[in-house]
Amino acid sequence: MKVRAFEHGLLLALAVVLLAMAGVASADDKAGWKSGTSLAATQEQSCVRDAAFMRRNHMEVIKHARIDTVRKGVRGVDGSLSECIACHVNKDDKGAPIPVNQEGQFCAGCHQQVGVALDCYQCHATVPTH
């Protein structure tokens, strides 16, 4: 029993340490947050879902749309990647679109921050084209 109690104590201590570290990390993140943004996002224009939902679930929305589009030929669906890019692409001083996967831009900004690979643009165009 004593051993069990000791283990519990150890686990508790470990949990406290981890929580403290997480707190520090999140504070750092906020200070150094370099998330990419876009005009559409800052103006809080109506996206296909609300922003909080999209931040966590955009990949599911896009994946659902991609199956409908590629395999069933449904176009103009909510979550169409080309619509995402059309809205969230930023323009440079001359009005030319900046690729969304460029450092600090709408897609790349967050993905770099959280260390998640961004595979869409191996095939998909990063600026609106035809």
Binding site: T69, G73, R75, Q122, H124, A125, P128, H130
Partner: protein, 257 residues
């Protein structure tokens, strides 16, 4: 979980609709004719339509590559760049081609025929049979295409295709079009300009280019609709399927071959 429920619900609705359509079709004296009109943008394709093409090789001018050029521009193939270390001959063999300009010579008479060879959009496509990931698939409306999200680049389909219609993208693609995504490591082929059809257009880029040059060798349309231009043309004069012995029931037919 919600997604699964949604899917089930949609599936149920689809089946119900399907049952209704079947009921109409089997009603005595009722013929189900679909007008040659585009499907609404937001709806899934159905097998009420089967897209197909008739190529009249007799009208196909020797040396003309208008259809190939138009296809390359429409589908972003002209944006592919030769790798620095690639030799011309190697690049010519490897660059993706959706339409190949093929010359056929009758050795007995010496008569030469030029024709465009592309994906034949078979009813029973060998490329779909061999695909290990279901990336190669046939849409309800008869278009055979590659789902690049699932393609692992094994190239079995390239081996299986009797028409040499498929290409492999060997290099990283820098310049892409929104309408035709393309990336290293996937197989691709003609998809009857699927982005056009899905968005309400009823012509392909090759057909338009051929008509613009005054040859009118390509007719495209709905094979299921007896009133469509392509169906009428097929009914009026004889045509052939390339490698008809394979019984693939190709969606692309030829005349003058």
């Amino acid at each position: 979980m919600k997604n699964t429920q949604d899917t089930n619900q949609k599936r149920r609705q689809f089946l119900q609709k399907g049952a209704a359509v079947t009921a109409i079709a089997v009603a005595p004296g009722v013929m189900l004719h679909t007008a040659a009109k585009a499907k609404p943008v937001g709806e899934a394709v159905t097998d009420a339509v089967r897209w197909g093409m008739l190529v009249d090789a007799a009208k196909c001018a020797d040396g003309c590559d208008a259809c190939v050029q138009a296809c390359n521009e429409e589908n972003g193939l002209n944006l592919l760049q030769k790798p620095h270390d690639a030799e011309d001959e190697m690049w010519d063999q490897q660059i993706p081609k959706w339409i190949r300009n093929v010359k056929v010579k009758d050795n007995l008479t010496g008569h030469v025929t030029s024709l465009p060879m592309m994906c034949q959009h078979c009813e029973h496509p060998p490329c779909v049979d061999v695909c290990p990931t279901t990336a190669s698939f046939r849409r309800a409306d008869g278009i055979v295409m590659v789902d690049r999200h699932l393609c692992i680049g094994c190239r079995y389909c390239m081996m299986a295709c009797p028409y040499k219609a498929r290409s492999f993208v060997h290099e990283v693609v820098e310049h892409k079009l929104t309408r035709t995504p393309r990336g290293k490591g996937c197989v691709e082929s003609c998809n009857f300009c699927v982005h056009r059809l899905d968005n309400g257009q009823t012509t392909t880029a090759c057909q338009d280019a051929c008509a613009k040059d005054g040859h009118n060798a390509i007719t495209f349309g709905d094979l299921n609709n007896p009133d469509s231009e392509v169906s009428k043309a097929l009914k009026e004069q004889s045509s052939t399927q390339i490698r008809a012995d394979l019984k693939l029931n190709t969606g692309v037919r030829y005349r003058g071959v």
